[in-house]
C-alpha cells in the first residue's frame, strides 16, 4: 500500500487535449464535470482507497522569512509563478499502476461539449516517514 498525491493544475502543466477554459463551458458542462469528480471520490471511498482531497483557490502568495523582528515578505498572489495547483487528492492504493489508472480516470472528467478534457494530472508518491526493511537486510 502506498499513498499518492494526484495534483490538478490551473496552469504550468501541459495543455489538456480538450483545452477550453472553464468559464467558456456551459453551466451544464460545469455541473457534469463537478459531478464526475465527486462521483470519482465517492467511488474511491467505497473501495477503501480514498484518503483526502480538496480544491484550492487560484489566489495564493509566496511567503518568505525576512530576518529577526521583521514581518515575513510576501510577493503578492503568485506574481511570477509558472505553476498553480487547483486541487489535490490523496489516495492509498496497492500499486503505482493502480495510481496511474485512477489518475487516468480522473483526467477523463468531462469538459466543453461534454467530452473528456484529457487534462494532465500529476501523480506523486508520498515519501514514507519510516523505512521499511522488506528489501534491504543491511540496515
Amino acid at each position: 500500500m502506498a499513498k499518492y498525491l494526484l495534483l490538478k493544475h490551473y496552469r504550468g502543466a501541459p495543455a489538456a487535449v480538450n483545452d477550453v477554459p472553464m468559464d467558456q463551458w456551459t453551466p451544464e458542462e460545469i455541473s457534469a464535470h463537478v459531478q464526475y469528480m465527486s462521483d470519482f471520490a465517492a467511488r474511491l471511498e467505497q473501495t477503501g482507497e480514498f484518503v483526502d482531497g480538496q480544491a484550492l483557490a487560484p489566489e495564493g502568495a509566496w511567503v518568505r522569512y525576512d530576518g529577526e523582528g521583521r514581518p515575513p515578505v510576501t510577493d503578492g498572489p503568485f506574481a511570477e509563478t509558472k505553476d498553480l495547483i487547483a486541487g489535490w487528492m490523496v489516495i492509498d492504493v496497492d500499486s503505482y499502476e493502480r495510481a496511474v489508472e485512477l489518475a487516468g480516470e480522473l483526467s477523463a472528467a468531462p469538459g466543453a461539449a461534454g467530452k473528456p478534457i484529457h487534462e494532465w494530472l500529476e501523480v506523486r508518491p508520498f515519501l514514507a516517514a519510516s523505512p521499511t526493511i522488506t528489501e534491504c537486510p543491511h540496515r
Binding site: 477503501g48 519510516s130 543491511h138 540496515r139
Partner: protein, 381 residues
C-alpha cells in the same frame, strides 16, 4: 479488563461461529458486538470461561441479527438449530481464519486489514490509525474484503505462502500511531507458528525477531537512518536474537529450505557478529546464492552484490552490480556505496545525490543526501 485476552480469543470465537454455519461477514459483526459487550460487562462480572461466554453472546447476536430480518418461519428454524449452551468446542479454527483472511482473491491491502481485524482483534479505528487513512476508508476496505469472501467456503485449504506474505506486509509497516504493527505481526506469526507446523512459518518468525531486535538502533533520536555497520550493537535485543536463532536452527534442521529461512539466516549472521568488521560475509554470500536460487528476485541479486562487495572487495561488488538493471530500487545507492569504498569519491558523490532523488522515503533520502554532502566536502578540503 484484559485486552490481550480478548484479542487472543477473537479468532477462535469467530472461527467457531463460522464453523457453526454463520457466514463470515455476519459472524465478524456479531463477534465485534460481543467484544463490546465484554468490555462493558467483564470488569464487574468476569466470566469463568471467557471464550465460552464470548461464543454464547456472539452467537446470540448473530441469531438476533438474522431473526430481525428473516421471515417468521425462518426464525423458528434457526431456534431449532441453536446448539445447546455448553463449553466451546476444542477444535481450533484459527488457522483456517488466517488462510481465509489472506485469500488470494483479496488485494494485499484488504488482506492485511482483514487479518488485523479478524485474527488480530484490532478495531477498525486502530487499523486506520496505523495506516494513516480515515476510519471510513478502512471500514470500507474491511467490509469489501468481507463481501469478497462471502462466497468462499471456510474449509477450503489455504496457501501458507500468501498468509506469510500478508504477515510480512504487516511487519514491514512498522510503527505508527498507538498500534505497533511490527510487534503485532510478531504476535500473530507466533500464534500461527504454534498452530501450523511449517518450517517457513518458523523462518518468518525468526526473521521478524532478528530484524526487530535491531529496531531501536536503526534510527538515531533525530529520526535519521543509522546503517548496520554503525549501529550500537550493545543495544540490540539479545533475548530476541537468541530466540530467533534458536527457532531458525530448528527450522533449518528440517531440511525444507524456503526464502524466509534463508533471509533469516542472513539476518542471524549479522546479529551474531560482535562487530561489523567480524561479519561472516562469505557465508552471507552463500545464503544469497540460495535465495537467488529460491526466488530469482532482482532485489535479492542487488543485495547479493552488496554482500559480494564486502566479501571480495568493491570491484567484485561493482561487477556483480553491472549485470543488473539499473532501474532497480536502490541500485544507484548500492553503486554509490561500492564506488565510495573503491575510492572513486567524485563518482560516489554524484551517485549518492542521484540515489537521494530516487529514495522511497524521507529517512533514506536524508541519509543519501548527507553521504553526498559528506563526500563533496571531503573533496574540497
Amino acid at each position: 479488563m484484559n485486552e490481550a485476552l480478548l484479542r487472543s480469543l477473537t479468532p477462535s470465537v469467530l472461527g467457531i461461529l463460522v464453523r457453526r454455519g454463520a457466514d463470515f461477514a455476519a459472524a465478524e459483526d456479531a463477534v465485534q458486538d460481543a467484544l463490546v459487550e465484554a468490555v462493558r460487562v467483564w470488569p464487574a462480572d468476569a466470566p469463568q470461561d471467557p471464550k465460552g461466554w464470548l461464543v454464547t453472546v456472539a452467537w446470540r447476536r448473530f441469531l438476533d441479527a438474522r431473526r430481525s430480518d428473516a421471515a417468521r418461519r425462518r426464525r423458528e428454524d434457526l431456534v431449532d438449530e441453536e446448539p445447546t449452551p455448553g463449553p466451546a468446542p476444542a477444535v481450533d479454527d484459527t488457522l483456517q481464519l488466517y488462510f481465509l483472511c489472506a485469500h488470494p482473491s483479496l488485494t494485499p491491502s484488504s488482506a492485511v486489514a482483514l487479518t488485523l481485524r479478524a485474527v488480530g482483534g484490532l478495531t477498525t479505528r486502530q487499523i486506520a490509525q496505523a495506516y494513516l487513512v480515515p476510519e471510513a476508508t478502512m471500514a470500507q476496505r474491511i467490509s469489501r474484503a468481507k463481501r469478497t469472501l462471502s462466497g468462499v467456503r471456510f474449509d477450503q485449504p489455504g496457501d501458507v505462502a500468501t498468509v506469510l506474505r500478508v504477515l510480512y506486509l504487516v511487519f514491514n509497516e512498522g510503527y505508527s500511531g498507538d498500534v505497533d504493527l511490527a510487534a503485532e505481526a510478531i504476535r500473530l506469526t507466533r500464534q500461527l507458528a504454534a498452530r501450523a507446523d511449517h518450517p517457513e512459518v518458523a523462518g518468518l518468525l525468526a526473521l521478524m525477531l532478528l530484524h526487530h531486535a535491531r529496531r531501536a538502533t536503526r534510527t538515531a533520536p533525530d529520526g535519521s537512518l543509522v546503517p548496520l555497520a554503525e549501529q550500537d550493537r550493545d543495544r540490540w535485543d539479545t533475548e530476541s536474537i537468541a530466540e530467533g536463532v534458536e527457532i531458525l536452527q530448528a527450522a533449518l534442521a528440517r531440511d525444507r529450505l524456503g526464502e524466509f529461512q534463508a533471509q533469516a539466516a542472513i539476518a542471524a549472521l549479522h546479529a551474531d557478529a560482535p562487530t561489523a568488521g567480524e561479519t561472516d560475509w562469505v557465508q552471507i554470500v552463500e545464503w544469497y546464492d540460495e535465495l537467488v536460487r529460491l526466488t530469482d528476485s532482482p532485489v535479492v541479486r542487488l543485495n547479493r552484490a552488496v554482500a559480494v562487495g564486502e566479501a571480495d572487495g568493491p570491484r567484485a561488488g561493482l561487477a556483480a552490480l553491472a549485470a543488473l538493471d539499473d532501474s532497480l530500487p536502490r541500485h544507484t545507492a548500492v553503486a554509490a556505496y561500492l564506488q565510495e569504498r573503491d575510492g572513486a569519491l567524485t563518482t560516489a558523490a554524484r551517485l549518492y545525490a542521484e540515489a537521494a532523488r530516487k529514495a522511497p522515503n524521507l529517512a533514506e533520502r536524508d541519509y543519501l543526501t548527507r553521504r553526498a554532502a559528506h563526500l563533496n566536502t571531503r573533496r574540497r578540503c
